[in-house]
């Protein structure tokens, strides 16, 4: 039996008036993977997620979850979601919210178990409205997990979290994935995508423009970063052909290049005293910037 993807969008189109949000989007979320959906603001990420969740009906194309129409009750039984715009009743206590959400699923986690996972043990009796932004985010994460979902939709999950809370959340997400849960992640933090994602899909103007593992995307980046100690000032280097940007960093200069070899040859020829030389491939962020420029 071919492995049925958990979520599948096929040729999905959606327009809001004259504005085309999705222009024939094809996308698959497979079992046990973390897929990061990236794109500039207005690229169609939110609409794509809304279609997958069944909140928005596509004008054309097909959206399924577990082979069922997106948004149908059996499909929702297997899904947990952390949305960006999701106000919860502020006067309800954390424990009450967790019990209510748990009651909608057929095999939920015990409340204390999910509270421990999300680091909410001490907050169960606190009204949701009295929590800090980061704590509220953790509650939303716990609500997404409480039904033991097979697929998690995480829309900017760590906005407003400090570094430790973010790392803790990543650890829990990884544990869920190890247990077979698929995750669709939309994020503005590229380091978050690098830390979690097995696969990355970049969309622009409502369609996929790039797809691959984090390493594949990095490898596709033509950008290199050169770092060294040199007599040349960054302002001078910035004007060289092949240099995109130059800056001083802790006694060194750092050059973002799209033609690293050309730059290096010239640098070594003109400055015999170059030291502490280091050349690195661009990160996911560099690839993402390149794609954004191409798409614009």
């Amino acid at each position: 039996m071919a492995v049925e993807p958990i979520v599948r969008l096929r040729g999905v189109r959606k327009c809001y008036g004259d504005i085309g949000a999705l222009a024939g989007l094809d996308l698959e979320l497979r079992r046990g993977e973390v897929l990061a959906l990236l794109g500039a603001n207005g690229a169609g990420k939110t609409t794509a997620v809304s279609v997958m969740l069944g909140l928005v009906a596509p004008d054309a194309g097909e959206a399924t979850m577990f082979g069922r129409p997106a948004g149908s009750l059996p499909a929702r039984q297997c899904a947990g979601a952390m949305l960006q715009t999701a106000a919860l009743p502020v006067t309800l206590r954390v424990g009450e919210l967790l019990r209510l959400f748990a009651s909608w699923y057929s095999a939920p986690m015990p409340v204390h178990e999910v509270a421990a996972l999300a680091g909410l043990d001490d907050l169960l009796r606190r009204p949701y409205g009295s929590l800090s932004g980061g704590q509220q985010r953790r509650v939303q994460f716990a609500l997404a997990l409480v039904g033991r979902p097979s697929v998690l939709f995480l829309d900017e999950p760590t906005v407003g979290l400090d570094v430790q809370a973010r790392q803790a959340l990543w650890t829990v997400i990884r544990a869920q994935v190890a247990a077979g849960c698929a995750v669709l992640l939309t994020t503005h933090y590229l380091e978050e995508a690098e830390a979690l994602a097995d696969r990355v899909v970049v969309i622009a103007h409502g369609r996929v423009i790039e797809e691959g593992t984090v390493d594949e995307l990095r490898a596709r980046s033509g950008h290199r970063r050169i770092r060294c100690r040199t007599a040349f000032a960054p302002e001078v280097l910035a004007a060289w052909p092949g240099v995109l940007a130059a800056r001083a960093r802790a006694g060194c200069v750092e050059l973002d290049c799209d033609q690293a070899e050309v730059v290096l040859r010239r640098l070594l020829a003109l400055d015999p005293d170059v030291s502490e030389l280091e050349v690195r491939r661009g990160g996911l962020a560099d690839r993402f910037m390149e794609l954004a420029e191409e798409a614009a």
Partner: protein, 264 residues
């Protein structure tokens, strides 16, 4: 854990216990609003306060069968139950449409009917509390003495009496935004209560107000309440019930249509 998650994915589980879930939802809806003092204090205190003012401190005097304590007990109970129904539906639906709570509910397997059923139960529970507060005050301060059947009859009016106002509130909630909803509900609630003769007996109000009173659902429920405590003759009960049933149906259908068309 590992196999369990995968099993769930393959078999698509059956729905969990609906009743337990509904019970929790009602509890959350009721407690959530009870703790919101800007809702619960006016809802529970204003009707008894009005009663204290107009039936106890400045009574209008008894005449024949007319007993202000009894009359105003019925009319302020009806006025009091309109509050949680109109505000509990109108304002909260408007706000929850806006702030994403309804959106989130459509993503998780929350049974859609529970949303409305829980609000309905919340309105009935508040109506029962208003009734109890009114009874307490009527017996202690208002000197009201009635047969048990009259007390029970008024309770039987008060609790299901929320229905037409829930439907009107729901319709407002599907039309108004979260900021304007409280103002709109107030514009419906207070004038309708007055024009339906719930603040003062209709007989004390101008002829025109008396003539148009049957336009207001609150008037019909008020009449039924007065029949329950024996302050008006029990004639035309069916017409009043029919008017209320029609109101409920009309606004519920209007609201349901709005909810279905709602873009998300």
């Amino acid at each position: 854990m590992n196999t369990r998650v995968l099993d769930v994915a393959v078999t698509l589980p059956a729905a969990p216990s609906r009743w337990r879930s509904l019970g929790l939802e009602i509890r959350c809806e009721f407690l959530g609003l009870l703790r919101q003092l800007s809702f619960s204090l006016p809802t529970l205190l204003f009707p008894p306060m009005f009663y204290l003012l107009f039936a106890v401190l400045m009574p209008m005097g008894k005449a024949g069968g007319w007993h202000p304590g009894q009359y105003l007990l019925a009319s302020y109970t009806v006025f009091g139950l309109m509050g949680p129904a109109l505000f509990g539906f109108g304002v909260s639906v408007a706000m929850e449409r806006e702030n994403g709570w309804l959106r989130l509910r459509r993503v998780v397997p929350a049974p859609p009917a529970n949303y409305l059923l829980a609000k309905l139960a919340m309105a009935m529970l508040f109506a029962a509390l208003v009734y109890l507060a009114m009874v307490l005050l009527a017996v202690t301060a208002g000197g009201v003495r009635m047969p048990a059947s009259a007390w029970l009859a008024l309770a039987a009016v008060a609790v299901p009496g929320v229905l037409p106002f829930c439907a009107i509130g729901l319709w407002i909630g599907t039309l108004a935004g979260g900021c304007s909803a409280p103002a709109i509900v107030n514009l419906v609630y207070l004038p309708m209560g007055f024009l339906a003769g719930l603040w003062f007996p209709l007989a004390l109000l101008p002829r025109l107000v008396q003539d148009i009173a049957p336009l207001w659902p609150a008037y019909h429920l008020g009449r039924i309440g007065l029949m329950a405590v024996g302050q008006v003759p029990a004639a035309g009960l069916l017409q009043h019930v029919g008017a209320l049933a029609l109101t409920t149906l009309l606004f519920f259908v209007l609201a349901a249509r709005r909810l279905r068309q709602m873009p998300q």
